[in-house]
Symmetry: C2
Subunit: 296 residues, 2 copies
Amino acid sequence: MDFKAYLDEKRVMVEEALEGIFPGPEGPAADIISAMRYSLFAGGKRLRPILCMAGAEAVGGEAKDVLPVACAIELIHTYSLIHDDLPVMDDDDMRRGKPTSHKVFGEAVAVLAGDGLLTKAFHVMTGADFVNRVRPDALLAVIARIAQAAGYEGMVGGQVVDIQSEGKAVDPSIVEYIHTRKTAALISASVVSGAILVGAVEDQVKALASYGQNIGLAFQVSDDILDIEGDSRELGKNVGSDTRQEKVTYPAVHGLKRSKDIEKELVQQAIESLAPFDRRAEPLRQIAKYIIARKR
Amino acid sequence: MDFKAYLDEKRVMVEEALEGIFPGPEGPAADIISAMRYSLFAGGKRLRPILCMAGAEAVGGEAKDVLPVACAIELIHTYSLIHDDLPVMDDDDMRRGKPTSHKVFGEAVAVLAGDGLLTKAFHVMTGADFVNRVRPDALLAVIARIAQAAGYEGMVGGQVVDIQSEGKAVDPSIVEYIHTRKTAALISASVVSGAILVGAVEDQVKALASYGQNIGLAFQVSDDILDIEGDSRELGKNVGSDTRQEKVTYPAVHGLKRSKDIEKELVQQAIESLAPFDRRAEPLRQIAKYIIARKR
């Protein structure tokens, strides 16, 4: 398969669908719409929505049938970046080569833009047109999984332990705790949601959840490695910020060489989870390999 | 009817159900659980969940059948208070007689506690036990309404215009814009959600939405009046903060006397919206009258 063409095609689908979610910035609340759009169209890779669509395809469904959920997950991911970058959190000025939300719109609007994106995600998933096209019980199960992955048992819980662990000597189990929740939970929920919506059976859901956990963790380990070895221009953000902020990362806890081995093992395990699937899971296999090869 | 006994009975139902939502604060993310619980059990009146249950009763349903949605709305309301109180927003130190979340847990955990409560709301509404007891299409419609009322078209949009209007001379239409979105949208969604879940027909939904909009707006006008005339001990927060912060309020725009007239008119309109309902809507009528009489 032409993997690059696959990613491009899916990214265009996502961009077009995201474009239709918010109106133009008009009226008294124009600033909040501008701020949400600014971060949403800041050049993200759309990894999570693509995973959601690839998850649907792996079990025989069609990408377009899960597009609103794919977009909702990107809204949630974008909200988490805005809040993570806030001065009271990681205090990052640059993201994807552009000033972060609070640098452009101020902290109050940045907090509210995050709140607005998170809330809109659940509105997008329950739009009347979409609801009429899916099994309602499947959609409710998907909303539950995404909310759990994004909440205090997932992303929010990972972020709080992340910021509280800065500068501390922590047990290796804590770095896994943080990354599993902060990154892997929503990535895993992305793949699984797409599959559930088009009728995946329980064994398929379990295998895809395992795939998602492993690539999600691998993705964060590779992010940690890129923060040391990457090129700040290609990444669009300053490198070395983890070290400066004394972040709990895989390289900090396990060293760079061991971290690269862990990344490879996780990708290998992810691909093994896909053994029961046929060639329709090929995009998921390619995405797993891409994680190690990527430069940004 | 014994209105005080009604409120007490419903409040106990809500408190008990909220108690079961979060585990005890254990594990690496204990702080976020503590912070969410701290604000959730800070002595709120539980007005929104009670309205949700009263909405169900008004159309012949039972309060217990909508309890998870009632609780979810209280989680959303609590998140909005935590974020509104942040130093970058209204910078309030006291709420309901206790230090605000960021004063106790720091700003980073306060932002995340808000995020966690908002996200958990959607998890609570999609719990497997609850999903099996309701019509899934009704529940999806309710989630959509609540997300819209809480998001940039509702609460978040009202808050951004609120903070951006501080200290400015604004058109009276702006104060209505703010209050309609910041307060009335979620209050209206509370009543309507309870009714939809137990099978309300379209005319009933419209009448209850109108009731909710009117009491929601009246509630905010009465809040503005209490900030001038209220007792800070009874209110559990400092009075006069709207004036100090040069907030756009009904008294600031229309004067105190006219604001009291507007409040009465809104309550009257709310009660008129209930004309098609029988005595099962009596709690809703009493709640409308209580808004004018309340001291906190």
